[in-house]
Symmetry: C2
Subunit: 362 residues, 2 copies
Amino acid sequence: MSKVHNFSAGPSILNQEVINQASKAVANFNNLNLSILEISHRSKDFVAVMDNAVALVKEILNVPEGYSVLFLQGGASTGFLKTILNFMNENGTGAYLNTGAWSKKALKEAEKLGKLNVIASSEDKNFNYIPKGYTLPSDVDYFHITTNNTIFGTQIKDIPTQDNTLLIADMSSDIFSRKINVSDYAMIYAGAQKNLGPAGTTLYIVKDDLLGKTDRTIPTMLDLRTHAAKGSMFNTPPVYPIYVSMLTLEWLKANGGIEWIEKVNQEKADLIYNEIDSNPLFEGTAAKEDRSNMNVTFVLTNEDIKEDFDALWKTAGISGINGHRDVGGYRASIYNAMPIESIQVLVNTMKQLANKYDLVNN
Amino acid sequence: MSKVHNFSAGPSILNQEVINQASKAVANFNNLNLSILEISHRSKDFVAVMDNAVALVKEILNVPEGYSVLFLQGGASTGFLKTILNFMNENGTGAYLNTGAWSKKALKEAEKLGKLNVIASSEDKNFNYIPKGYTLPSDVDYFHITTNNTIFGTQIKDIPTQDNTLLIADMSSDIFSRKINVSDYAMIYAGAQKNLGPAGTTLYIVKDDLLGKTDRTIPTMLDLRTHAAKGSMFNTPPVYPIYVSMLTLEWLKANGGIEWIEKVNQEKADLIYNEIDSNPLFEGTAAKEDRSNMNVTFVLTNEDIKEDFDALWKTAGISGINGHRDVGGYRASIYNAMPIESIQVLVNTMKQLANKYDLVNN
C-alpha cells in the first residue's frame, strides 16, 4: 500500500527520509549498537545532536548574536506562561492580538496572572481575518502575536513591529515556513509538531539581555535563564523529539533552507487556493489577504454533496482534512514536509467532484 | 557486533523487544502507512495508546479508585514545582527528606516559593545513607521523599507513612521496580527515562480529591486538575515517549508485572553487591542497609588499578558505568530492562581484575 497523503494539522507530516532515519536511530544510533532512546543525554553522541540542532536553527533562521536557541518541554501552552513569567512585571501589562483559539488561551493566562490589554481581535467574525490598523501599544511589557492560526487558516503577513515594544510571537504553526527577521522579536516560541519534528519539544529563540528584568519570582524550570545557561541541558531534555527535529532541519538546509521552502510553500498554497477560488463547489473561510500558507480552510458550497466528496478523498488515500469543530468543513494542513504531489491529489478530487456534479446537473 | 551492556543511569536501557517495536512504529504505525511521529494525538490510534498506557499503570501498580494517572512533560524537575503549586499554601510549609542531589533541588524550589522544613538529611556523609528515626511532621502541607537516589546509590526501604500527613514521592529512578502501596501517597511522580521509557514524559499518579485545596493561583499548565480533566490531552502530549512507555508497560505485564520484576531486581542486585563485598578490590559507597537495587555505586580500593579495570570492562562491551562526579568511582545502573546476563559480564570483569591482581602480587 502506498503512503497516505497526510494533511493532519499536527502532529503532522514529516519528510519520508527523516522518518527512515528516525526509525533507524531507534534500532541502532550512530552504529553504537544502542538505541537513541537509551543513551545518556550527556553522551558525546547526543551532545552533538543538540549542538547541531541549535546551530541549524541559527543558520537557517539567521539568528543574530545575543539570542539563545532552546529546545524545551511543555508545548506552546507552557510558552504562554513562560512569556508572562519572563517578560511581565507583577503589576505590568501584557498586550495581545487576539486572532484565534491559541491567542485566546495565551491571553487568558496573562489575564489570570497579570494585566491584559487586548489590542485588537477578530473574534467578531469567528477569527476569519487578521485585525489591521490598530495602534501598537507602548506602555505595556510586551506585545504578543500568534503568527499563524492553525484552526482558522489565517496568517499574519505583515509583522507589526515598533521600537521600544517587545514583540513576542507564538510561531508554532508557521516557523521555518518563510523568512523572518529574528531581531524584530524579544522571543519566538514554537511547538515542534508542525514544521519541526514530532510532539514533545518546543523551540525558544530568546534575546538574552531581555531576560531577568521582571520583578517576579520565577520558578526554576520556567525561568528561561535556567535553560539558556545550561544549553537546554539543565535537566534531561526530550532526546528523541530533539533528534528528529535536527533531522528535519538538516533536510531543510540540504534543500535550500528558508528561501527554497518559502517558494515551495507559496506554490503549494497557490495550487489549492486557486482550486478553491475557481471551483464553484468550494469556498475558502479566511479573508483572502490573510490566508495561511500552512492551513487551508474551506467549506463546500452545498452540504448535500459532503458524502460524495468524503468518499472521493478517502479513496484517493487522503487523511486528516476534516475541519476543526470551531470552523467546520475542511482543513488541509500543508506544512513544509507536505509534497506538492499530495496537494495535487487533493485538488484532483475537488475537480472530480465538480465534474461529477456537472454531469448530474447539466 | 553484539549489543552493548548498557549501564547508563538515564536515559537508560530499554528492553530489546520494546526497541524493535518502537523502531517499527516510527516507520509504519499500526499498519496505517504513517509514522507514529506524524499522526494526530486525537486520532483513534493514539487515543488507544494513551488509554492503554494509563490502564497498564493502574493495573501494574494496583492504583486505587480516586487517583488520576497522567503522562505530562517537563521532567521530575517540573514535578518539584507542581508539588509546591498543587499542595503548598502561600503561607504553608513543605517538609522534605534530604537524601541526595535531586531531593535537594526539590527542597530548594520549596524554599524559593514557600516555607521549607528539612526533616532529616544525610548530606553530612555525602548522602551515603538514608536518614532514619526522625519524627514525621504533622503541621506541614506535605512530606516529600525521593525513594531512590540515582547518584548516591541509596534507596528508601521503609516508606515513612503517617495518617494526616500527605506523602509525595519522586520515584523517577525506582518506579515499577518493586511493590508500592499507592494509597500511601498523595502524589507520585517519575521521569520516564529509567524504568518506563525514553526521556520526554513524566508520570504522575495523584489523588484527585486532594487537588485544588491550596490558596495559590496555579498557572493552567502546572495545575494538575487541567490535565486530569482532559486525560493528559489538554494540549499535545509527547506522543512518542508515551507510546514507548506503553510498550515497556506491556513487556512488564506480560512477564509477570511487579511481583516478577521485584524478584528479578533482587537477584540482579544480589549478584553485583555480593561481588563487591567479596572482592577485595572493590568497596560499595552506600550504607549496606540502604543500598539501591537500581543504582549500584562502588569504588576501587586501590586507585592504581583503575586503568586495568577500565580496559577490562570496555573490552567486555560494557558502557555507562563511570560514577557521577559527586561520588566518583563507578555506578552500575541495573534498571528493570537490564538483563542479569549483562550484570554477570560486569561481575566477571571484576573477578578477572582480582585474578590478575592476585597473579601479580602473590
